[in-house]
Amino acid sequence: MKSNFFLLFFISCLISLSSCRNAFDTVVEVDLPKEEPRLVPNAFLQPDSLFTVEVTNSKFVLDSASTKPILNAEVKVFENGILLATLINYGNGVYKGISARPFEGRIYDLTVSAPGYPECSGKAFIPYRPVIKNLTFRDSTYSNNNTFYGEINLKFDDPGSENYYLIEVVTFDSLLETYIPVGFLKQQDSDIHSEDNFTTRLFFSDEKFNGRTHEIRLYLPANGGDAFIINNPDSIINPVKKDYYLFFWSVSKSYYNYTLTKDLQFDTQGNPFSEPVPVYSNSSSKMGIFAGKSLTKERIVK
């Protein structure tokens, strides 16, 4: 009898507790320590171009406002501790030098300050442009599952230091007045650790051929996209004959790390099954990039 009383009492307690308001409300709003806005510099410096830095701010993830360009920043460029240039606001958060240009093989220190934000700084290294020894193109040499590819053969000298490269095949779009990439690049070079097989840009480091002459074969799909035209200039699908170029960039390590992590984060945003991808930054504000790159441009001739 006593035990039955306990049993009933315990069950009654549980039912009362369970019927409390919000007892089964399992989603609650929680606080997040505020992350104060910081300066976000984005600089991709290259020889023969003016120093250019875009400055925006970051926003706390729970702020409704969007990020905005910083219009009253002071952006300075130093070389070996000597002020080289103070960049001018060109509007929309873009700051440019008047005449000073970066040079290959140099390291520049950049500082960015603006009222209401902590100052940020970083270093940008401008690598030497790559040296192409030989560049050839052949039609439809490689077949994979009945898809034919045009083959680009690129031979170049790698200097004996840590180097990073970026390859694009582009054509000039007169309407947009810019170079646009053609097709997806494919490569089968075991010495190249390619980050992505379906990309218009091929990134790689010289980890496996440091200091040697290296040869890369690139493949462009021949039965689709603009590369078709290289195969069949008279094709009725797209009879306009264009000029094609190989853009062979030497990029700084910071450029390489930033671009790959940035692209990976874009690719995986919203995917609940992938681990979060932090984006590389060499800015003291932990967001943004100071990077350098140098271009060797070659027209592709059949």
Partner: protein
């Protein structure tokens, strides 16, 4: 001449005095005939004694003469035997459970005291205590009981994950009758596969690993199934909110053969199926369920030969079926779709015990273990028009898993009371299915099919070990050994020699100082997105490019029994280093079916250190324990977090557990569990900022330019976790059987513990961070019976 005779007589008498004989046999339960593991057989008032092995066998070599030999085991009466030892002889001890005594409290029931054992960092939990712990939905769970021990983290809310001293979920050697269980989870990790009604003994080893164990870095969870009652048919079962179970055991033909069989099944799917059908007008059905089946048969051929065959099979299944039918313009169309997800383990163990001599015991095992995960989609269409029917079927199936076939021999050698030597070796033939995709398309009885994905990987794992648990003096006891292993995969041959040592030194009458050092090597890895025991987790081998995981661990501590030897107390500090750990690359995951898994992973190292406090009471009216852990666990991978050290996801600074069960009287037991732990580490979006574009690769054409800033990996801490569970058992003993009503509350004060977090918008459209808790207060009731 007289002198010679005298000398010979003296020598003979010395020889007679020094002559030793061996007593050997088994220690078993009087009521069920179950062999008792780790029972103590000793000479009262001395330090001479030994313990039974996993099969209840002991051997003790003693000088000739009259002796008293005692056998004791926790929860049982002590038995004394007076022996005139003039020759080697067999002697079996049959102990009676103390519950049969009129007095509830037990006067003398201790096994070997904690300070006497050389082993440290090991905890045995009596199954009765596991059953007394209040459980979610009233479902008794072995792994959740283990999670309540210091040094063990359970992962996320409600999960059966096991993270021991900073190790990963793949670093636990979970053995069921010697067979490895690769995925010990049911219902996506909320329940473990072990049915407590079929289990005899559970031991957790967190460090100071004896040399007989190998193949995992962080822990050994050794679970032994019951052998089955040799005296009479008996059984127990329960009916709960989500599942029911039944176990039967008893003799087969004679006392020489016994069996046990137990089954468990959830029935939520059966209850919800009519509702799903009703809500879809009969066009859809679905469900989620699991079942377990444990069985064991053993036969005693003679006093020297014993054969055991045990098996486990369990499966989880989730499925949805839909049917769509319509008729239009004389054309009738029937479309059927099915999605299914199932995973499960099968293990079976054949063991032959043979007593080679009264000092040498042999066990030979043949073991099979399989874990398989399948996910499949099937779609069929049937279109009938003018008496012509066109049928199409499309099937897609993804599967992964691991199969092991193991052969091993283990010897227990008892040369004298101061040495207990174990040695043996084994071979495991692994088959890894690292994820393959099968397509099949059938049109009007003509079918095409293909399989894509990596081929199975075959590997061989060899092991040899020798260990000696010896006592150089009464104050010092040492367990020293070597475990050596090798792994052969894809023409690569890895090997390792792993020294192990643990020792105790009794520096006062009651206090023992203990220390241990162990190196471990693990040749298999678990690729896990979340580390919560999802069935998608992929077991992969070490390969030429993925090195075996390795660790070393050192521990120092003190141990003693206190309060009239009713409580065991231990305080330990440990430091562990691990290398060649693997993780998915940032951005990678199991959903990327294409490509080689080896290209999706990063390799790195980890450290864990901390201290643990544990006080346990195993008997009496009040039983339970209090555990506290203070620990740090870090990881470092070259390409994760930009090479910087980061806290492991389950790094937990403080962890407290209080487990208590109190027998109010013969009819009522009350129990409670309270746990507290520092919040889990997470990587959370903290800020947003504009990405930089330089025009290469058409990158200026991104329509979205905002990047997320996460800070350091795992730098965010969720709220602390704490929870109180309560339970009351109402027991009624009837003439032929005993029934128990168990009522409980999981998370009794309804703490909203974080499970995961997400960003959303509040009622005003402003961004907000939300925390999702899985379980509010969950009442449970179950009815169980035993006969």
């Amino acid at each position: 001449m007289r002198f010679i005779l005298f000398s010979l007589l003296m020598l003979l008498s010395v020889w007679a005095c020094a002559q030793k004989f061996t007593i050997s046999g088994y220690v078993s339960d009087s009521e069920t005939g179950e062999k008792l593991i780790s029972a103590n057989v000793f000479i009262p008032g001395s330090t001479t004694g030994t313990t039974t092995n996993v099969y209840g066998f002991y051997s003790l070599t003693l000088p000739a003469g009259k002796i008293t030999l005692s056998a004791r085991y926790i929860g049982y009466q002590v038995i004394n035997a007076e022996i005139d030892l003039i020759k080697s002889q067999p002697l079996d001890f049959i102990l009676s459970a103390s519950i049969q005594l009129k007095e509830v409290e037990i006067v003398e029931t201790r096994t070997e005291k904690i300070q006497e054992r050389s082993q440290m960092s090991a905890i045995e939990i009596p199954v009765s205590q596991i059953k007394a712990i209040p459980a979610m939905f009233g479902e008794v769970d072995v792994l959740k009981a283990i999670q309540l021990l210091p040094g063990v983290h359970g992962g996320s809310e409600g999960q059966t994950g096991i993270y021991v001293r900073g190790g990963g979920p793949d670093q636990n050697l979970i053995l069921l009758d010697g067979a490895p269980v690769y995925n010990p989870s049911h219902l996506l990790g909320f329940f473990s596969v072990f049915n407590a009604d079929a289990i005899k003994n559970v031991t957790l080893i967190k460090g100071g690993f004896p040399a007989r164990y190998g193949g995992r870095l962080s822990s050994v969870i050794d679970i032994n199934m019951k052998e089955g009652n040799t005296k009479k048919i008996s059984g127990e079962g329960s009916i709960g909110i989500i599942s029911s179970k039944l176990a039967l055991e008893g003799p087969l033909f004679s006392e020489k053969t016994s069996f046990i069989i137990s089954a468990r099944r959830t029935y939520l799917d059966i209850l919800t199926r009519p509702l799903i059908r009703a809500s879809s007008n009969g066009d859809a059905t679905g469900g989620l369920y699991f079942y377990d089946l444990n069985g064991k048969v053993n036969h005693k051929f003679s006093d020297k030969d014993h054969l055991y065959l045990s098996a486990y099979t369990g499966k989880d299944r989730f499925f949805i079926r839909t049917k769509d039918e319509y008729e239009y313009n004389g054309q009738r169309s029937v479309s059927k779709n099915q999605f299914g997800l199932d995973w499960g383990n099968i293990t079976s163990t054949l063991r032959w015990n043979h007593v080679l001599s009264n000092k040498l015991f042999l066990n030979t095992s043949l073991i099979f273990s399989r874990y398989q995960f399948n996910v499949g989609v099937e779609n069929s269409n049937e279109i009938t028009f003018q008496n012509t029917t066109n049928r199409e079927t499309f099937k897609l199936n993804y599967y992964s898993g691991i199969n092991d076939v193991t052969g091993k021999v283990d010897f227990d050698y008892y040369p004298n009371p101061n040495h207990f030597v174990k040695f043996g070796g084994g071979y495991i033939y692994h088959t890894f299915h690292t994820g393959a995709l099968q397509f099949k398309f059938t049109e009007n009885n003509k079918s095409t099919d293909t399989t894509v994905g990596p081929r199975p990987i075959y590997a061989g794992e060899y092991s040899l070990y020798v260990e000696d648990d010896f006592k150089p003096t009464d104050l010092v006891k040492i367990n020293a050994g070597i475990h050596s292993s090798a792994f052969n995969v894809k023409k690569e041959f890895y090997y390792s020699v792993q020294p192990r040592i643990s020792a105790r030194y009794i520096f006062t009458e009651d206090w023992a100082l203990k220390a241990s050092f162990a190196t471990m090597t693990q040749y298999i890895h678990l690729l896990s997105n979340y580390g919560v025991g999802l069935p998608t987790d992929l077991w992969v081998p070490s390969t030429p490019s993925v090195k075996p995981q390795q660790s070393w661990q050192g521990a120092v501590g003190v141990a003693r029994t206190i309060f009239n030897e009713q409580y065991e107390l231990s305080i330990e500090g440990f430091y562990k280093e691990m290398k060649n750990l693997i993780e998915y690359k940032e951005g990678a995951g199991f959903m990327e079916i294409g490509g080689d898994w080896q290209t999706k992973i990063e390799s790195g190292k980890g450290t864990a250190y901390g201290s643990e406090f544990f006080i346990q009471k195993k008997e009496g009216k009040l039983t339970g324990w209090i555990g506290y852990t203070l620990a740090w666990t870090n990881r470092q991978f070259e390409n994760l977090n930009f090479g910087k050290v980061f806290p492991y996801k389950y790094d937990r600074r403080h962890d407290v557990s209080i487990v208590a069960s109190y027998k109010l009287n013969k009819k009522i037991n009350v129990s409670l569990t309270w746990v507290y732990g520092t919040g889990n580490a997470a990587t959370l979006e903290l800020a947003n900022y504009k990405a930089g574009f330089d025009g290469t690769g058409g990158s200026d054409f991104y329509y979205y330019d905002q990047l997320n800033y996460y800070g350091e990996r795992n730098s965010f801490r969720m709220k602390a976790y704490h929870r109180l569970d309560l339970g009351i058992d109402f027991i009624k003993v009837r003439k032929r059987w005993t029934r128990t009503w168990s009522v409980g509350a999981y998370n009794a004060y309804n703490r909203k513990n974080p499970y995961f977090m997400y960003f959303g918008n509040d009622d005003f459209g402003n961004p907000a961070l939300y925390q999702v808790s899985l379980f509010p207060v969950i009442p449970s009731i179950s009815y169980s019976f035993k006969f």
